[in-house]
């Protein structure tokens, strides 16, 4: 496992989406649409999280001819990643004042812990 990545807003957004269901696998576009991130911001975040060992990825086991679409890259939080994500979101929650998460642009993400303790 590498060093934990420098925490940025984009990393927080991605971790929030992945933490909604830590055991599930998500593909890039799905995460990007939920977190409202485009590819140029999303792929570097996945790369950094993967380098740090917080996320693992694999190619989807589908036959593109049968599925009618190319295979997807699936991402899932590692156990370390789950712990790290929970800590990072808790710290972010502590550092936020009510309403600030909306100003920062992540208040729309389902599951993001708001300062009051309830999920958005």
């Amino acid at each position: 496992m590498g060093d934990p990545p420098r925490m940025t807003l984009n990393i927080l957004k991605v971790l929030t989406v992945l933490l909604e269901d830590p055991t599930a696998e998500h593909y890039g576009l799905e995460v990007g649409q939920t977190a409202r991130l485009r590819g140029g911001s999303l792929y570097p975040v996945f790369g950094r999280l993967e380098d740090a060992g917080l996320v693992v990825s694999r190619w989807e086991d589908v036959d593109p001819a049968e599925a009618g679409r190319p295979r997807r890259r699936l991402y899932r939080l590692t156990p370390n990643g789950v712990v790290y994500a929970r800590q990072a979101l808790a710290e972010a929650r502590q550092n936020l004042t009510p309403g600030q998460e909306h100003a920062a642009g992540w208040g729309h993400i389902p599951g993001f812990p708001t300062p009051g303790g309830a999920s958005a």
Binding site: Y27, G28, L29, G32, R38, G39, G40, S41, Y43, P44, G47, R48, R69, P70, R71, R72, R73
Partner: protein
């Protein structure tokens, strides 16, 4: 004059805009453009990672809702941020690449005089006039090759190579060449005679 220039530029601009607009209204063109942008973006990444990220980005682009703009915007964003993304993946920045290229060019220019001197020395060593063995070898190769070519194509220009000129006196070479040509023509004449004889025997056979 400037009025004409403005009119021409405006016409060209209108035509170009129309072509681009028509292309962008075609979803296939947009998807092609998106794919092209992603390929270009992936080229900036370290070599070992390009295929993976390219495939992933294209897969996501194709999974976007149908329409011409979403894939294009997605790909544009990937391309726009690919420089900084590549740096986080360990690829050198454009500035570093430029500096490296300039340094390599400087080294190459500096090495030119040495390379020229070395080339001259090697050329002297292998010059036929300095080395009888080399001259003999060139002569043998040229004559053997020349005979083979003569029998196949009859071309004579190949004989007069630079190496042969250096190794053989001009008069000897021309005499040898005349002899080769005579032999070749005699050979052809013989073939023609034999062919006519065969043809007559077939056509005039009872």
């Amino acid at each position: 004059m400037s009025g004409w220039l403005i009119a021409i530029l405006a016409t060209l601009g209108t035509l170009l805009f129309g072509v681009v607009k028509a292309d962008l209204e075609d979803a296939k063109v947009c998807r092609w453009l998106a794919r092209h942008l992603i390929y270009r973006a992936a080229e900036r990444l370290p070599r070992g990672e390009r295929a993976r990220w390219r495939e992933e980005a294209i897969s996501d682009t194709l999974a976007l809702p149908p329409g011409r703009l979403p894939p294009l915007l997605w790909a544009l964003d990937v391309y726009r941020r690919s420089g900084s993304w590549a740096q986080t993946r360990g690829a050198p920045s454009r500035w570093e690449i430029l500096v490296d290229r300039i340094r390599a060019a400087q080294e190459w220019v500096r090495s030119l005089p040495q390379a020229r001197t070395r080339s001259r020395e090697e050329s002297k060593q292998h010059h036929p006039s300095r080395n009888p063995d080399t001259a003999q070898e060139i002569m043998a190769t040229a004559i053997n090759g020349a005979e083979a070519v003569t029998m196949v194509s009859g071309q004579t220009s190949v004989f007069k190579s630079h190496a042969l000129e250096l190794a053989v006196a001009q008069a000897d070479f021309e005499a040898w060449l005349r002899k080769q040509r005579q032999d070749f023509e005699a050979h052809i004449d013989q073939q023609v005679v034999e062919f006519r004889r065969y043809r007559d025997s077939v056509l005039l056979a009872p």
